[in-house]
Symmetry: C2
Subunit: 163 residues, 2 copies
């Protein structure tokens, strides 16, 4: 069983950035009526003629118990997710080079006010939400080239998440 | 008095894109558990060595009646706003070249599920929210060069918004 831990900048640093206002660099704009929490993720999408895409993903919950089914990565660009409703959701990444090495899997519980930006090439599980449906704003890469790799877990010995 | 009208893709087309799932191109991903509403805005930030920035703006309400105080534009890049809580908010743009021409001002009421992407160089009013506070995810341009111009309304003859 994979046991989720709270998402923090420090714990997520090997994989990318946590996108959140808490602890972020900020300054007032618009004559003091607005606070700008500035430059919260390293958007890295220009490789091989890439360009930034802004999209919305509408994720639906998997059946419980939640079971990991594959890991994926984007060799040509970063991918940022920010929740559009204030519900907790799950982030699964892996330390080391083998995306299916179960002892190296790390699961975080992100709050509804925390997004993540997966650095280019970081293995991660596709969206895992806890409510029936949750929307996310996504900033990732469009352009030429093959920008996805996947590796599937065996169904014989499933990895379950303890939520 | 400036009278807000509902925000639609068609009405906003001269100024940029409305970022919304309604009517957007979409397709299933993640083995059918997620819908991707794809490429909802033309993120145009590469001019003169620019790069995409991902930030959060926390806007607070102006006193009522809401009065326009200035128009601004970003000559080097687009700027996208998407609300992070489901409250209506206001978008003010202007037809033609004079940002202070009151007969050419256009005010839209955006829903809490609608963002906008101002095309590069489009005059717009800074954030105007209707609730005490509202957060937005922003995708705009960072990099060298002067990327803001402002023009202020005279305080003698204020433009008010009828909300």
């Amino acid at each position: 069983m994979l046991d989720p831990r709270p998402l923090t900048r420090e714990a997520f640093a090997p994989f990318g950035e946590v996108i959140e206002t808490e602890g972020a660099h900020s300054y007032p704009i618009n004559e003091g009526t607005t606070t700008r929490f500035h430059d919260l993720a390293e958007v890295d999408v220009a490789t091989e003629g890439g360009r930034p895409l802004l999209s919305i993903f509408r994720a639906t919950a998997r059946p419980r118990p939640i079971r990991l089914w594959l890991m994926e990565r984007h060799p040509l660009g970063s991918q940022a997710f920010y929740p559009l409703s204030d519900y907790d959701w799950l982030v699964v990444v892996v330390s080391g080079d083998d995306p299916l090495a179960r002892d190296n899997l790390v699961c975080f519980t992100a709050s509804g006010r925390q997004g993540v930006n997966y650095r280019r090439g970081v293995w991660h599980h596709p969206l895992l939400v806890l409510e029936p449906a949750q929307d996310f704003l996504i900033v990732d890469r469009g352009g030429p080239g093959e920008n996805i790799e996947e590796q599937r877990f065996s169904s014989d010995d499933p990895v379950l998440v303890s939520v």
